[in-house]
Subunit: 299 residues, 4 copies
């Protein structure tokens, strides 16, 4: 069982995870290109610092090229019986090829979706993993240290073979898009009736106990409203992280209707458009057939 | 059969209709509060000018109070055997009460949905009407003068009892919202690939013959693109006229799923928001759980 | 302050509320047309049983005619200083007229949205109310007895003047539609990959702690999956209660875009259609232009 | 300029195109694996039959493997100055690689989106192409023979470099999904008021002239309703051809909001589900919190 592990990537997520693991008594050697946060000077040094057999290296770097590069380098450093954990937001379809490559060298691969954001250090992280039973079993002390207090099965799941962890995390994030948009639409409806709903913040705050819509996201919404009840200091510009897109792509591949999650994604796209080519064309069309007034672009 | 009729309301639609009717040999006495366009000085004078029996007065004024006021005044001026035609964009649910009131005085009521916009004078108007068979029969010369050339049943329908004309027009306009948004989304997708689609205007122009998407709205889109291929002179701000809203309300009352038409309506609402309270709250939420960057409102 | 109140309507919600109030030491006289659950024989007897001044009668009967009838009868029984609480799912727009009528007799009116369903007896009910400050102040012992444990402001709000309680509850239910559909779409995406996600129930169960999507609705989803992990015993037929419709209607009246909540509503409409006229017509269209195969209706 | 060309694939589309080309005086040698429709015995024989220089082979086989196989075989048969036309519904992203491969042998590549379905033989086909100017110029006699009567630019476009033709066709088909769904929703709304709209077929028929919604798809809808005004003989089961999916995928890649076209696609997915896992889970959730009735699956 793991008592000393490697952790690659000490950004917002990784650094907090190192701290939570250490508090739980697990020795962690962390590597990050930024020397001021790194425990060792290189990936090779990190691997050297780990006790065998079955060295464990958790990779927690941005999805895409950064993850690919680290995994490629690790493949050359690890060997029979070692295990790589891919904890970033990778697309699940990449996991199987990666696992196959590492398997040629006898290295195991476990993909983990990690949820909880900046709150994870204190609350613990929700964990979904995919991989072989024995690799997952080996990692249980790590998972137990990271996951929230309470019954293990309420904060951790071995969801299936390699890829299942990232798939579950992708779906989790898709749901998250839908939930956030539902609260957002409700907020706008409350805010639209200022004469009637004299306390929007208080109304959403009162939903935190006893109601059907109570949730952690609602708690966060209430926190946000406390500081700025009309969101005056914040722009209506919303990034999307990639996993919402993957969720809709996946739905299309599987012919699964996804009206709510896709609408939430499109609302984010719209929020970032300085102007909408589509709506310009609708305005132009109305002018054509009805002589309807349009607003010239200078306005 | 009608050879001389009254027409109340000589705005963009009414004035064109008067002209088209006169070209067809129907005598028209028009009334409008603006003396420079009106043929008579008052509604009473208009009614006096019409020959009986079965005087016909077509009302073509804005929906809501203006229509209500004219109908109320007409009720006091008309009598047994006369017919009122309500050609504005009234809600169909108002028609039955109006018809019942007029019926007490022996006055008939026919509701007509009129489509065609500013092009109607030359092309003719698409007409959908609701009412009693004998009232509609009486009006056929008027309908034939207004409708487009070609088979009567391709530009005119007696869709059902009182209210059917406005209901059909409401649905027509709801469909129109969906069609326009579909072309608009397609336009945006073409415009999003400027390196590949080097001629967006030309591409849509080429859809006018032979393709599945050819339509009059497409012809208008091509016209609009001719003058301004990137819609640079036009703002992405789109009004909605009320009938799109009624269509969605009606769908809700009848438990009819309406994903496309409602999405088209909501896109118009969004287009008019200087900023979206909903998307501000999503941005705030993301900041809460993930420490994600937001754009301060000043930006 | 209230120590003895009347409660009209002892159905699933009312009976549980009576029980919770009594456990909190508030005397409750309940009336219901079904003698086996009623404490008195009539509404008049209920009113007579209450101590003055400022008698309090909470009405908890189905929205629409039943509520209207009870309020009309109460208007004749109550007088100066008494307070009626309307706790049903009435439309907020009805509240003001009702309050005005009762105000003529000196009777106060407070509208309350009550959330929590069958779990309210044990967990307490989330409460949102609208009305005058002094009426609400009078009722605070009742609200405190019904609301969940914990800080008052997390389970109760005085959201604004008369109507604000029902408006807030309507928006709450609209959000609920969106949240449920988001989880539902996520569930379907998990279930669509049975080879990869070998434990759908376990995956959603693991989201209950630490994740961004944790919520009470998720807890209920996990409970439901425990008994029937593929929902084999349940039909895909979903009722809607009216408040989802009102939420979308309200959005339309206020030009608020509501893509997610409306999509959730339409999904319910679709779920109840034995067959979709719209999709039949799309199938027919495809056959027309492409000679595409259709499935004859008998299939 | 082309006077004799090859055509591979003599299915519903290809056979009609051969016929239309021949009527226009272009000699066509067609190949199809089914000897009863083929003019030659093999692809090699087809190529041999063509006069040089600048032999032209139009490929009109199903997208995916069939197209890939034919192109691979053609690459070995053609040479310097020849031109391949890919007229199937391929994904535009595949075009550039194909063109590059053929370019190594001096073979040109033009991708063409062909619209018009079974009506193309008589009406002509709407054509959108991508490729080099000189390849396109060479092909103009072919395009002119296939496109509809009327101004060339209303039925044909050289939309951009290789890939532009298939991209334009993809967007065309995405729009088509949205248009069809808009008419379908309107049809359902008319059909939902049978007491008021006594003639649904007649109402849509009357939209064919003068109205804003007139289009070829509307004409087809009217044709379909003529034979079966309530679509009693047709199932509400709608296939999707792949290009609708690509359109939504493309929108996601480019952060283009696509609410209407995506809703139309999802409606097709839903139409094919014997039961909806998502809506089962919503039903289960409602039962959990509200004790709401569900319909057991057997029903």
């Amino acid at each position: 069982m793991v008592t000393h592990m490697g952790l690659v990537g000490l950004g917002k997520m990784g650094a907090n995870m190192r701290e939570r693991l250490r508090r739980a008594g697990i020795e962690v050697t962390g590597f990050d290109p930024r020397p001021e946060v790194s425990d060792v000077e290189s990936l090779a040094a990190l691997v050297d610092a780990l006790p065998g057999p079955r060295r464990v290296v958790w990779v927690m770097v941005p999805a895409g090229d950064p993850t690919r590069d680290v995994l490629a380098e690790l493949a050359g450093l690890l060997g029979e019986g070692d295990v790589v954990v891919e904890g970033g937001n990778s697309h699940y379809a990449e996991d199987q090829a990666r696992a196959a490559e590492l398997a040629e060298r006898g290295v195991g691969y476990v993909d983990v979706g990690v949820s909880g954001g900046v709150w994870g250090l204190e609350n613990g992280y929700g964990l979904m993993c995919g991989g072989d039973d024995d690799d997952v079993a080996e990692l249980m002390p790590v998972f137990d240290a990271l996951r929230p207090e309470g019954p293990r099965e309420e904060g951790f799941v071995h969801a299936g073979p390699v890829g299942a962890g990232h798939y579950a995390k992708m779906v989790h994030n898709g749901i998250e898009y839908g939930l956030m948009q539902a609260y957002a639409e409700g907020y706008e409806l409350l805010a639209a009736k200022k004469g009637l709903i004299t306390d929007v913040h208080g109304t959403m705050r009162a939903w935190q106990r006893g109601t059907v819509v109570r949730s952690w996201l609602l708690d966060l919404m209430v926190r946000a409203l406390e500081h700025d009840p009309w969101f005056e200091a914040i722009d209506d510009w919303v990034e999307d992280s990639g996993e919402g897109r993957w969720t809709v792509d996946e739905a299309i591949d599987n012919a699964v209707p996804l009206p709510v999650i896709s609408a939430a994604l499109f609302a984010r796209f719209s929020s970032r458009q300085p102007e909408s080519p589509a709506m310009k064309s609708v305005a132009a069309l109305r002018q054509q057939f009805g002589g309807h007034a349009v607003r010239p672009s200078a306005e």
